[in-house]
Amino acid sequence: MIGAALQALASHWRRHPLQLATLLAGLALATALWSAVQAINAEARASYARATAQIGSGALDVLEAPGGPIPLPRYVALRRAGWQLSPVLEGRARLGDLRVTVLGLDPVTHPPLPAFTAAMKRDAAMLGRMLAQGGMLIAPPDLAAILTDVPGLPKVQVSDSVPPGMVMTDIGVAERLLARPGQIDRLLILPDQPPGLTPLADLAPDLQRRVSRAGTDTARLTDSFHLNLTAFGLLSFAVGLFIVHGTVGLAFEQRRGMVRTLRALGLPLRLLTALMLGELLVLALIGGGLGLVLGYLVAAALLPDVAATLRGLYGAPVAGGLSLRPSWVLGGLVMALAGTGVASAQALWRMVHMPLLSAPGLQAWAQRAARGERRMALAGLGLIGAGGVALVLVPGLVGGFALIAGLMLGAALLLPPALALVLHLGRRLARGPVGDWLWADTRAQLPGIGLALMALLLALAANVGVGTMVSSFRLTFTGWLDQRLVSELYLTARDDAQGEEIARWLAPRSDAVLPIRSGEFTVQSVPVTVYGVVDHPTYSKNWPLLEQTPNAWDRVNAGAAAFINEQLARRAALWSGDRVQLAPGWTLPIAGVYSDYGNPTGQAIVALPALLSHASAVPNRRFGVRLSPEAMPGLMRDLRAAFDLPASALIDQAGLKAQSLAVFDKTFVVTGALNLLTLGVAGFAILTSLLTLWSLRLPQLAPVWALGLTRGTLARLELGRSLLLAALTALLALPLGLALAWVLLAVINVQAFGWRLPMYLFPADWLRLFGLALLAAGLAAALPARRLYRLPPSELLKVFANAR
């Protein structure tokens, strides 16, 4: 009995191979994009975990000074009191042309680290060399290859056990590289302490003891980025499921007659349901398997760009290679199964509850869907409202994403009723019988193609929203670069001595020489780079201040106030008029807040003399030079000749802006790729809807053909109908996309990156997207239309014959 029933069920797929292919493709696409995002996230998180393990000490408590670094004498005093501590100094430094994370440790007292242990195994004398005059840097292979050629750096040792983008070294060397002599960021409290020690709370009440969070900072910082990716993955998954839902719904509807017959022949309903569930399970596993293969390929293609983005935005250590994880495979298959279950539940439920004598009818399927439109509209409005409430009640990223989810799903549910209304109005304006029929018929097709149009709406809105966000960001960033990069020429000397020599040489040959000097400090336990500026109108006229107090620049130049960047302001909740403690004993009022896009860390600006009084050893190697643009080529030539500077040491303003924009554009490569893929899936959803609806369409088209319309006319009308629906969907996607852009800019960006951006509108991009939507719909409709155009009349006549 089971064999016969299975044979009957499988015969449907044999007779409808295209439907089977569509179902598997929908499942594969849904699983692929979701799995690709998960693979990227898993790889990035594994990299963070690896980095945490590689820099060790994750389990040890640490001591920190709340307002800044710990002075060396405090460390010495605690050691003399018997406490077993190991000092750590960490910060970002420019080594050659690269900005890297420098981790300075005391190799003698620090718990064993994989990088040190491996290097010691190879070369027992390494520790001695590391501590000797000049020291040693341990760097990952790609970084080591670059740093080896940088003059003035200690010898570089290659190690696979150092996280990407980081160098490890002795704390003495780190002090020099970071220009923070005598400073310590944290003290590791080693596990074996002698008995009878005076408690740390008594010895050092100004220091805070806390559980180490090495590595977790990166994970926390990048959480929002991964959440963004996951949201995109979910969107793609949902779009793919629309295909599955439509195909399964039609397949089950087409099999109603067969199911009725099987039940009439004595097959128990329970067994039949189990067989159909088994069938769905097999299909889900096949589709999910295909999706995993596809997802792996997509992830492998996107991961290098994601790694670059994470390094650029957060300084997060992510390698570019992808590994296959069993948990990822299992997760992908579970998603495929769950997705199939969700997409098929309604169809299966209807099948199970279908009366034995219920007449099969494809038309009934479309009619039932039409009746649900009012419920859909109410649910859509409810979801949008719930999203708005969530934003008010749940602040932060979660509230923002809840609003996005509510907006997108709600709008998708509102689409069919909205289209029905537009088509109803269109019909009123129709002239002639063909126009009349076309509007009415298009309205009647909505239930069948509605899911695909919802998918298109989501994809287009995501494109408009994310595109507006990225383009607004780019426009703001470009304007901001114009303000920030005012000097005509930027140069980097080999060392401080050469820097001073060059500054003296440049003074009579330029309008102004502006030193770019900075030191690393800690504000509220967060690393902050403090820049010292000289008093020059270049800054006061151009610096991109978001807010300022009266006479702000005068106060900063006098050393009586500081500017801070937006990231620090939002993170530390400090704004103009508040006071910021940059180091113990160095607290300044905040004269203003400036925008600082693309920078993951906090930043402050003070007068250069004020900086030097708290960090005298900050490097003096980088300068901005003001001069007339005409004089620049000659000056660059003379500089190179006089100081034997490499090409990379001199860069003009245009070159630096181009470099910055290139980094910016690379950051959003992944977003663009996911956007395009989602749109592609939506286009495919339309194609699959039209192809699966093919058997429904013929009985509707054949009478019109018989009454005197040619197949060519009908094919053109079919194409026009798809273009019309896509155009209407694209128009409705625009306000949704703009709402999405607002949430991304005003809520998500602030939470994720720490800056808020103005929103600009880009009508040319909308037109391009509108064209893309029409192209996708046109391509999707072209195949069925061509099929109709070439259909032999005898096939159309079967519609009348089949009815007998």
Binding site: Q700, A702, G708, R711, R804
Partner: protein
């Protein structure tokens, strides 16, 4: 002569010949019943006469136009302007109301006559149903709409393929009576495919198709 079928042959790909040289004629306003066993090619001949399909050999002339010389556009124009069709399964346009279905073919042909359509609506007993959709009607009501749609265009030739085959005897008789009355009143020629001797007997002429030929 309105319709002339001369030695027409038709074979579907991969199947035995359906029509092996069929000839018959139909005058304007005449009614003709075509009978025959299932699979004898009755519907095929009707489709060929209505310019719905092409034949392999012979010739069909409708109102002086040779169908063999027409392309797809020409055949569509002929169906629109000269012919009307009534099928067993009604084949109404589901997205249009009864009223819109009734006027659809006439509007396509550019011959919409509101007075005539209203008269048809009244005589077919559809006046109360014009705002409904086909799915909301019984089989007999749907077939009456199909007949009304066909005659509203004032075609020269009405082709009907088992128009009452899906109806019970009472409904079948009522629908057939109405159709014949209206056909005669409008001067339309009728080419009817039927299994029923009783119905065939009520028409002006009768032809029997057997083995791909007129017996």
């Amino acid at each position: 002569m309105l319709l002339t079928i001369e030695d027409v042959k038709k074979t579907y790909p991969g199947a035995r010949p359906v029509l092996q040289g069929v000839s018959l004629t139909l005058d304007a306003g005449q009614t003709l019943a075509l009978t025959g066993e299932s699979g004898s090619g009755k519907s095929t001949l009707l489709h060929l006469a209505g310019a719905l399909d092409s034949f392999d050999a012979g010739e069909i002339r409708l109102a002086g136009t040779a169908l063999s010389g027409l392309d797809d556009t020409g055949r569509a124009a002929l169906r629109r302007d000269r012919v009307a069709l009534v099928f067993q399964q009604f084949n109404l346009i589901p997205s249009l109301t009864v009223g819109q279905n009734l006027g659809f073919h006439a509007r396509l042909a550019g011959r919409q006559d509101p007075v005539w359509i209203e008269e048809l609506t009244e005589r077919l007993g559809l006046a109360e149903l014009v705002a409904r959709y086909p799915e909301q009607l019984s089989g007999g009501q749907q077939q009456r709409v199909a007949i009304g749609r066909a005659l509203a265009a004032r075609p020269a030739l009405l082709l009907a393929d088992e128009p009452t085959g899906n109806l019970d005897e009472t409904a079948s008789t009522a629908v057939m009576e109405l159709m014949l009355d209206l056909v005669r009143a409008s001067g339309t020629a009728l080419f009817l495919v039927t299994h029923s001797d009783r119905i065939a007997a009520r028409l002006d002429a009768r032809a029997h198709l057997s083995g791909g030929c007129i017996a």
